[in-house]
């Protein structure tokens, strides 16, 4: 395959893995987080350093990154998820900034601002696709099981959710950790497909890009988020003709879409396997998932 197409697809896949985690946390559970990029950084650095310095295989490094992310996530989550939601937003923003700062400061291990350089090309497109599909399946299972219902209940009315027997703190913490795993895995993949990582790659604007994707697709629709992830990663490529106006057009498209579809592009609509099968068989089923097309 054309390596241009391959690299776009790899980056789209990596972004999507990270975005899926954010979808569960910010979309379904309604917790505003600026911290996803921090977990990406942890995943990227732990995997890269353990490979480059200690010769740990990529897979093991990836799992180690997940472990570290879970540990860090556990501390932040336990401390802040009992507080008001905007403290959680602040804490996650602070967390991402602190991670960046730590990576710069403890340069003996991380290379500081100079980053880690010469990371080998281990990540391939099939690998990204497989991991993405696995992540997608996990997310879907989450959404259709009690976990998804609990999250939506918390997002809508946390007190009522508590009264219905949900341990909301535990649920929020689990979702936060779960989404951290997605971020961490995405980070590991990223490090081994950009071959070079530096702290400034994991800054606030990256988090913002991911947040925009989640809300562009819709906080209720997994299908929408996947579509948004693909569309918004590909759009800047299409807009290259705009030269210096490229990002202006890009953000304008986002704003206009959000104004016209303030519940996200896809609302509550979900694509289901049976529908796809239906289309394949050529049946004229009306394309309405359970719950129908949301307003």
């Amino acid at each position: 395959m054309n390596s241009y197409l391959a690299s776009i697809l790899i980056f789209t896949g990596i972004n999507l893995i990270s975005v899926l985690g954010m979808f569960l946390l910010m979309g379904l559970t309604g917790l505003l987080s600026f911290g996803q990029v921090g977990f990406m950084a942890i995943g990227a650095y732990v995997t890269a350093i353990s490979y480059m310095r200690f010769g740990l295989p990529f897979g093991a490094g990836l799992l180690l990154g997940v472990g570290v992310s879970l540990l860090v996530g556990l501390v932040i989550g336990t401390v802040t998820l009992k507080l008001r939601n905007d403290y959680f937003a602040l804490a996650t923003y602070g967390f991402a900034e602190v991670i960046k700062n730590v990576l710069i400061y403890f340069s003996g291990y991380t290379g500081g601002s100079m980053g880690v350089f010469g990371i080998p090309a281990i990540v391939t497109l099939p690998m990204v696709i497989v991991i993405f599909l696995a992540a997608l399946v996990l997310c879907r299972n989450f959404k259709v099981s009690k976990l998804g219902r609990n999250s939506l209940a918390i997002r809508n009315d946390e007190l009522a959710a508590k009264v219905m027997g949900i341990n909301t703190f535990k649920q929020k913490l689990l979702v936060f950790l779960f989404s951290a795993v997605f971020g961490s895995v995405a980070g590991s993949l990223l490090a081994f497909s950009t071959y070079y990582i530096e702290p400034n790659m994991f800054n606030w604007s990256k988090s913002v890009e991911l947040i925009v994707i989640v809300f562009f697709g819709g906080i209720n629709s997994l299908t929408g988020v996947v579509f948004a992830g693909m569309a918004l990663t590909l759009l800047p490529e299409i807009l290259h003709f705009g030269a210096e106006w490229r990002m202006v057009i890009y953000t304008a498209i986002i704003i206009v879409t959000m104004i016209y579809r303030p519940t996200g592009l896809f609302g509550r609509w979900e694509l289901s396997l049976s529908q796809i099968l239906g289309w394949i068989k050529g049946r004229r089923k009306s394309a309405v998932g359970r719950g129908g097309q949301g307003a």
């Binding site: 399946v137 996990l138 997310c139 299972n141 989450f142 099981s145 009690k146 976990l147 219902r149 609990n150 939506l152 209940a153 997002r155 809508n156 009315d157 007190l159 009522a160 959710a161 508590k162 009264v163 219905m164 027997g165 949900i166 341990n167 909301t168 689990l174 779960f178 209720n220 359970r290 719950g291 129908g292 949301g294």
Partner: protein, 257 residues
């Protein structure tokens, strides 16, 4: 009536203050198992606060609350729900992001056993339990008369149906004690009659103890076996409806003299 009914819920000298305001003042309530009982009283008497105290939304400043002889004051709302107390809200609090079916189904979550990991991995146990829950949900929807509305969004339901949905949702936690906060508020006479039938059915068929707050006196006097009357945060009378109706203190509270 059974002989020597066991006490299910006990409030001992419970007091709740907000800032300087005493909302509930030394309340004692002894609710026997199997009762269909009610709390009445003028607005601001502290009835909803009592519910919030029982369901763990607030922790009492003084006194304790026992459920099946176990102290529940201080426990979180979700723990209390797990112990077997469910409630509805005076101002309907349905989950707008979930359709009618899922609103009820989410209330069965507290009884499903599969873990987070099992859930995201979609293991067979998950599907089995989800199926069982779904069957239960159908039953509760049937009970309150909401079959056929499964895929509707709660905000699109008529007001009376929203009340019924809240009721079904509370039932789905399979409580031993059901707290209904003004279930008939905003309903028309026909709907109130329907509601009374449903409450009776729940009481009998599901063998549930029910405590309700209500302003519709006809309804309260008709279905409740025991009543507590509150005014200014205090219980001023307790007894069966006939007894309460004759109590001069109650008349004074309602007539404001």
């Amino acid at each position: 009536m059974k002989e020597q009914p066991k006490t299910l819920l006990q409030m001992n000298n419970v007091t709740m203050r907000f800032g300087g305001v005493v909302a509930v003042n030394g309340v004692n309530i002894n609710l026997s198992e199997g009762r269909l009982a009610g709390i009445i009283g003028p607005n601001g008497a502290g009835k909803t606060t009592v519910f919030n105290l029982i369901s763990g939304v607030y922790d009492p400043v003084e006194g304790d609350i026992r459920f099946r002889d176990q102290v529940i004051s201080g426990k979180s709302p979700s723990e209390i729900t797990h112990l077997g107390i469910a409630r509805t809200f005076q101002n309907i609090r349905l989950f707008k992001g979930l359709n009618v079916f899922d609103n009820v189904k989410m209330a069965t979550n507290c009884r499903t056993e599969y873990s987070f990991m099992e859930g995201v991995l979609g293991l067979p146990r998950v599907w089995r339990q989800e199926k069982e829950s779904a069957a239960e949900v159908e039953r509760y929807l049937e009970l309150v008369g909401l079959l056929g509305y499964e895929n509707t969004w709660p905000e699109n339901l008529a007001y009376g149906l929203q009340r019924k949905l809240e009721l079904a949702r509370a039932l789905a936690t399979k409580p031993a004690l059901l707290l209904l906060d003004e279930p008939a508020a905003g309903l028309n006479p026909t709907e109130i009659r329907e509601l009374m039938d449903i409450i009776r059915r729940i009481h009998k068929e599901l063998d549930m103890t029910i405590l309700l707050i209500e302003h519709h006196m006809d309804m309260v006097m008709d279905i409740c076996e025991e009543l507590w009357v509150m005014n200014f945060g205090k219980v001023i009378a307790n007894g069966d409806p006939e007894h309460i109706q004759r109590e001069p203190e109650v008349l004074r509270a309602y007539l404001g003299s």
